[in-house]
């Protein structure tokens, strides 16, 4: 599991996740996810390259989102695959964090 961050215009931090967010994958990204959440109020989590998401991986998204939310910030999820989006919807996350498949729309949602 790989994680990288990129600073976009408007104070947006884009976090790119790549790989399987299973138990091992979640453990591998937790620290960097928390660091990104602690230093940004506008977080765009790019899920395009996430090939698997389990409940442990959900925690790696939800906990940083809570941290950003508690500081008055915003989090959007970008471009999950069909199966990953199905996991997010089953957990009810789609009604709490916006999911966008268009980058411009995802960025606009953070403004």
């Amino acid at each position: 599991m790989q994680i990288s961050t990129e600073e976009l215009d408007g104070g947006i931090t884009k976090v790119v996740l790549d790989g399987r967010m299973d138990i091992a994958g979640a453990q591998a990204v937790d620290l960097k996810m928390n660091l990104a959440a602690g230093s940004s109020k506008k977080l765009l989590i790019d899920l395009q390259k996430v090939s698997f998401l389990g409940s442990m991986g959900l925690g790696s998204i939800v906990r940083p989102a809570r941290a950003v939310n508690s500081r008055g910030g915003k989090v959007v999820l970008f471009a999950p695959t069909e199966m990953v989006e199905s996991v997010l919807k089953t957990a009810g996350i789609d009604s709490l964090l916006p999911i966008h498949h268009d980058l411009a729309a995802a960025i606009a949602a953070l403004q």
């Binding site: 698997f52 389990g54 409940s55 442990m56 508690s70 089953t90 957990a91 009604s95 964090l97």
Partner: protein, 147 residues
Amino acid sequence: MPGEHTVKPQPRLTLQGQLGELARVWPWIEALASEYSIPAGTQFAIQLCLEEALSNIVRHGQSDQPITVDCARSAANRELMFTLEDHGPAFDPLAPSEFEKTPAPTSIDQLQVGGQGIRLMRRFAGSLAYQRLPGGNRLTIGFALPR
């Protein structure tokens, strides 16, 4: 001939009761997927349900006791059945829980991550059945096979 020396996946995976052992599940599923021509979406569902079920078993069970996962086609060849057996205390993951009775969260702060596992299993498994065994538990999870 191509594939002549292909090694068939073992129909049984035996794991020790530790979360780190779950890393062995995905390579096994990939081997089974090749053997049974399992579509990618079903592979995802199998991995999801086995990870959720096995992590529950590890959390509620005993680390020094093995957990077995058996894979077989159903009698009518319509489902791929996974049978998980452990030697832990009685634990029925399909029993109604307090989590399922709680109203839907209205903010990310209210969302409980713990407890999502059974919700995901109900959504992604084709069939689920629990049986208490003498000194253990059996959970059977089925997935439809392509016709």
